[in-house]
């Protein structure tokens, strides 16, 4: 049964959708004042400062940890730099118990929810206190208590999972939703399309937040899609969509707040396209000079989302130069001290090699582990991370 309700025409009539122009929602100018006609969302001082501090924490952490990577303390790092408003602003608009399913550049969400510097460091150094047990590369954070799904490197896989997670939330009936973050590059994966289609078909309370930061590693968005961004795709799935200035904390916050209401109260999934820019390299392994100009970067550095919010706060007399200086200093100090501590902690126990593959270790894997232990006892100097592990030094077992 064909169910289109479209009107009939009697000559071939094509459309390229150009009549649907999606506007960009903005509230805050770079000087910290509001656009004419723009009205700041209701945001109390406490909440505004919580948002701001999470953004600054993210920036400081990123700067320090990239430096640590350069010094060889860390194998790898990825920065959120330039995208803090997109990430923190949207997370702040949710309930703290809503689910977050992120890509990898969203440490700001965790900072906002209260992930401590120590928790960040334990993951980055993969030590015995890392929740992920030292199994994943740096920045693959996860926190069940903060409702933040552990990051998975294969791109876009979290997007349909978010649709499924949110469908379960709808059935559970507690009024929660899921937000999923992804880049405009990841939005090219089949998983993205599957996720949006299922979300509207099954009326799921999920928010799709695309960080359109202009690049997927070296690939500029003009080589990623021919359309005007990612937003127009929502029409194809009959999904509500909004495009927002991703460097505008107030616009991101208000748009996400409205999206959450639609998702939770009416089971209407929403696509948000946050227009922003990846100011840093893709990762510590990347060198953007091979594919973009310093001039282009400079243009976006002028649009710094943190500075924009700081100016707004100062205009409201909620924040001062002094407080800024203090915050920066104390964060730097905390990051450095915490890093030193985390780096000194032991690696995860040897047994973490074989646990969590299944709920229980299967016998065949246990046999492999026994063999490994015997081997390490024979060549302890070749395995400095585990030679002193209790499983090796204890007399029992083997």
């Amino acid at each position: 049964m064909t169910t289109t309700k479209s009107k009939v025409v009697y000559s071939p009539t094509f459309t390229d959708g150009a009549e649907f122009q999606i506007p960009t929602f903005k509230l805050l100018k770079q000087d910290g004042s509001l656009y004419k006609g723009g009205k700041a969302p209701a945001l109390k001082k406490d909440k505004a400062l919580r948002i701001y501090k999470a953004m600054v924490t993210t920036r400081v952490l990123d700067e320090r940890m990239l430096a640590a990577q350069r010094q060889g303390r860390l194998s790898f790092y990825m920065q959120c730099t330039g995208e803090e408003a997109s990430v923190v602003g949207s997370t702040a608009a949710l309930d703290d118990a809503d689910m977050i399913m992120a890509q990898y550049r969203e440490q700001g969400s965790l900072a906002y929810r209260g992930f401590t510097i120590d928790e960040f460091m334990n993951q980055l150094f993969g030590n015995e206190m890392d929740y992920g047990k030292g199994r994943q590369m740096p920045v693959h954070y996860g926190s069940s208590k903060l409702h933040y799904m552990t990051i998975s490197s294969p791109l876009a896989t979290q997007i349909p999972q978010a649709t499924g997670y949110a469908y379960g939330q709808k059935l559970a009936g507690k009024g929660h939703c899921t937000i999923t973050y992804f880049g405009e590059g990841a939005a090219s994966e089949g998983d993205f399309h599957a996720a949006l289609n299922m979300a509207t078909v099954h009326r799921v309370p999920v928010i799709f937040l695309c960080r359109n930061n202009g690049y997927a590693i070296s690939t500029p968005s003009v080589e990623q899609f021919a359309a005007d961004g990612v937003a127009p795709r929502a029409y194809g799935y009959k999904m509500d969509v909004i495009r927002v200035d991703g460097n505008d904390i107030l616009a991101v916050y208000e748009a996400t707040q409205a999206a959450r209401k639609m998702a939770v109260e009416e089971n209407r999934p929403v696509l948000i396209e946050a227009m922003t820019y990846r100011l840093a390299a893709h990762s510590s392994s990347d060198d953007p000079s091979g594919y973009r100009s310093k001039d282009e970067e400079a243009v976006w550095r002028e649009k710094d989302p943190i500075l924009r919010m700081q100016r707004w706060l100062q205009k409201k007399k909620w924040w001062s130069e002094d407080e800024e200086k203090q915050l920066q200093e104390s964060l730097r100090k905390e990051v450095l001290e915490t890093m030193k501590r985390a780096q000194k902690r032991s690696p995860p126990p040897l047994e973490s090699l074989i646990t969590d593959v299944y709920d229980k270790v299967p016998p065949a894997l246990n046999a492999q582990f026994e063999k490994l232990k015997t081997h390490i006892r024979k060549y302890p100097e070749a395995y400095p991370k585990s030679a002193n592990d209790a499983a090796i030094t204890s007399k029992g077992g083997a």
């Binding site: 993969g126 030292g134 199994r135 994943q136 590693i217 070296s218 894997l365 081997h375």
Partner: protein
């Protein structure tokens, strides 16, 4: 001859193939102006233009589906998957399409021109998703060829061999050796045979078999074993599918012992297939059970990568155990 690392050798092979045949195209995520995240396609866009070397959108199923279509049309696509760990969105296109195109059409159509390049393997602190060796998943699929080079000379000759081979070919590149492996590489076009293993060193007591980056591990282990007077025969399988049973069987008939090593997990790994076939062919000649030295039956870890890895010490121990059996 020129001294090259493996990336340069691969780049050279692609350059030669593109220069020789206008139908050869190179594409994938970031392979255009940037030359790929590992720079294997450096300068190819500059040299051959954006129509023949280009960035694709970030969608592996699209990349391989597109490549299948191109190959069916008569072009010679060399598609890059950025990491072998990210080949799985394209699994359907490879396993159900590339592999079966010729068979299902009664050879009316084929995608024999297709080559898929992907960096594979561990040892670079890549954790779960930048370390996997997925050859065994594909080895279960008749219709595909799977090739893995061990050094720059082999990489160039085998890649050119893969591009010219009239069957869809997966070319897995040991990324740990991309820059670490440097050697003399002949200039100009040459092809190494697909489907043939290579005996790297003759010996009489035991046969050690591997492919790709494991060959370096084997070399170290064999050095230790030979110091103890164990004479090792070393074979690089080079092509995983279809594999060269004759060369391996002939060697084991002589030595009576076999150690097979790969990075992928033990269960369902390609060493199992080799062991089954060789015990059929050489049963009465075997002096000890065929040994497998592999990754453990777990996802690939990060911090405890060394412990998980089938390194030279583990291969050496297996050699000794086999000889002392």
């Amino acid at each position: 001859m020129a001294k090259m690392n493996m990336l340069q050798a691969i780049n050279d092979a692609l350059d030669i193939a593109m220069a020789a045949n206008d139908k050869v195209l190179c594409f994938g995520e970031d392979v255009g102006v940037f030359g790929g995240v590992f720079r294997a396609t450096s300068n190819l866009q500059q040299k051959y233009g954006k129509d023949r070397c280009f960035n694709t959108p970030l969608v592996e199923q699209g990349i391989i589906g597109f490549a299948n279509g191109l190959a069916a049309q008569g072009s010679v696509p060399v598609a890059e998957i950025q990491f072998a760990d990210y080949i799985f969105p394209a699994f359907d296109q490879i396993v159900n399409e590339s592999a079966k195109f010729r068979y299902r059409s009664g050879d009316l159509f084929n995608v024999g021109g297709l080559t898929i390049r992907a960096p594979y393997g561990g040892g670079i602190a890549g954790g779960l998703y930048h370390s996997q060796s997925p050859e065994a998943y594909f080895a279960h699929t008749p219709g595909l060829k799977i090739v893995v080079p061990r050094n720059p000379h082999q990489a160039k000759g085998l890649l050119l061999g893969s591009i010219h081979d009239p069957n869809p070919t997966l070319f897995f590149e040991p990324k740990r050796l991309y820059r670490a492996s440097v050697g003399e590489v002949p200039e100009g076009e040459y092809q190494l045979p697909i489907g043939e293993a290579e005996v790297l060193k003759e010996g009489s007591d035991i046969t050690i078999l591997g492919w790709g980056a494991q060959m370096e591990v084997i070399e170290q282990a064999v050095e230790m074993a030979e110091k103890e007077g164990i004479s090792c025969e070393v074979i690089d399988l080079r092509t995983i599918l279809p594999w060269d049973v004759e060369t391996v069987a002939e060697s084991v008939l002589k030595t009576g012992r076999l150690v097979v090593t790969h990075e992928a997990p033990l269960t369902g790994g390609f060493a199992g297939e080799i062991a089954a076939t060789i015990q059929e062919r050489c049963f009465l000649y075997l002096e000890s059970p065929i040994a497998r030295v592999t990754g453990m039956d777990t996802p690939f870890p990060l911090v405890l990568e060394k412990e998980h890895f089938p390194n030279h010490l583990k291969v050496y121990e297996a050699i000794r155990e086999s000889v002392e059996f």
